[in-house]
């Protein structure tokens, strides 16, 4: 999927919160009203982010396997870059 782009962010005015929790599950959409044979695995994730005041916001989303692999690659790339510093 081309939806996830690897882009280095330029300077932004926003203050990033801190990631405090990540939860995930792996599921399979078995069938639907239009397709008895959907057989579509997905990864659902929930992230908890604390802002500077400690207030926690929750964000959830669902990824197809290719989308998840793209996301995972991005995180690995980021870690690899961090190692170089």
């Amino acid at each position: 999927s081309k939806e996830c782009l690897n882009m280095d962010l330029s300077e932004r005015g926003l203050t990033a919160g801190k990631l405090v929790d990540m939860k995930w599950k792996l599921g399979v959409a078995v069938c639907s009203d239009e397709c008895k044979s959907l057989n579509s695995p997905f990864v659902a994730m929930t992230l908890k982010v604390a802002d500077a005041s400690g207030k926690i916001s929750t964000h959830t989303f669902e990824l197809t396997i290719p989308q998840f692999q793209n996301f995972s690659e991005q995180m690995k790339d980021m870690a690899a870059r961090m190692e170089m510093i």
Binding site: E3, A16, M22, L26, F42, F71, Q74
Partner: protein
């Protein structure tokens, strides 16, 4: 007006566009005017129903090409209203082109949760001059754009920071997920 592989193919493509690819302009009337202008309304209605039902069968079962052949063969052996070789040829051609695309469309149509539209990141390096500690301590800043399927105009932007240990934890999660995918999903 005879039905042949070519005009049946055209009809199937038009139906797929309307039913799956979100192109509602391909109405039954429009398709008739474009493909079967000389066919009687009654004959067209019958043909339409026949093609729609066949397509639903293919899509619902997400038939592979062996299953498709078996299905077409069984339809051609019917006593009444048997499928012709011309029709079978149209379905083969249609399915070859549209099978995966239709399936992918149905998969994304059945995600009623938020989707991750874009991932961006940068690495910040914090340095402090007063103490020797914390010099050149990198932190990862991630920005996620999360899209709600109901309101695709509104994107939620989430930014968060991770130090090396939090990132290591995230990577471990990713690895755990990948291991589960390999175990449970024979892709």
């Amino acid at each position: 007006m005879a039905t042949n592989a070519k005009n049946i193919s055209a009809l199937l493509t038009g139906l797929a566009k309307r039913n799956y690819y979100n192109e509602p302009e391909f109405t039954d009337e429009f398709l008739k005017s474009q493909i079967f202008p000389d066919l009687s309304d009654e004959a067209y209605a019958t043909l339409l129903k026949r093609c729609s039902n066949y397509m639903k069968n293919l899509v619902s079962a997400d038939m592979d090409f062996n299953q498709l052949e078996a299905f077409l063969t069984s339809q051609m052996k019917r006593r009444e209203a048997a499928m012709t070789e011309e029709e079978a040829s149209a379905y083969r051609k249609f399915w070859k082109v549209h099978k995966n695309k239709i399936h992918d469309t149905l998969v994304s149509k059945t995600n009623w949760n938020n989707s991750l539209k874009k991932v961006s990141w940068r690495i910040d390096v914090k340095s402090q001059s007063k103490s020797a500690e914390n010099i050149n301590e990198p932190s990862a800043i991630v920005e996620l754009q999360i899209e709600n399927p109901e309101e695709s105009q509104k994107t939620e932007v989430v930014q968060f920071e991770m130090d090396e240990s939090r990132l290591a934890h995230v990577l471990q999660n990713m690895k755990d997920i990948e291991d589960q995918i390999v175990q449970y999903c024979q892709q």
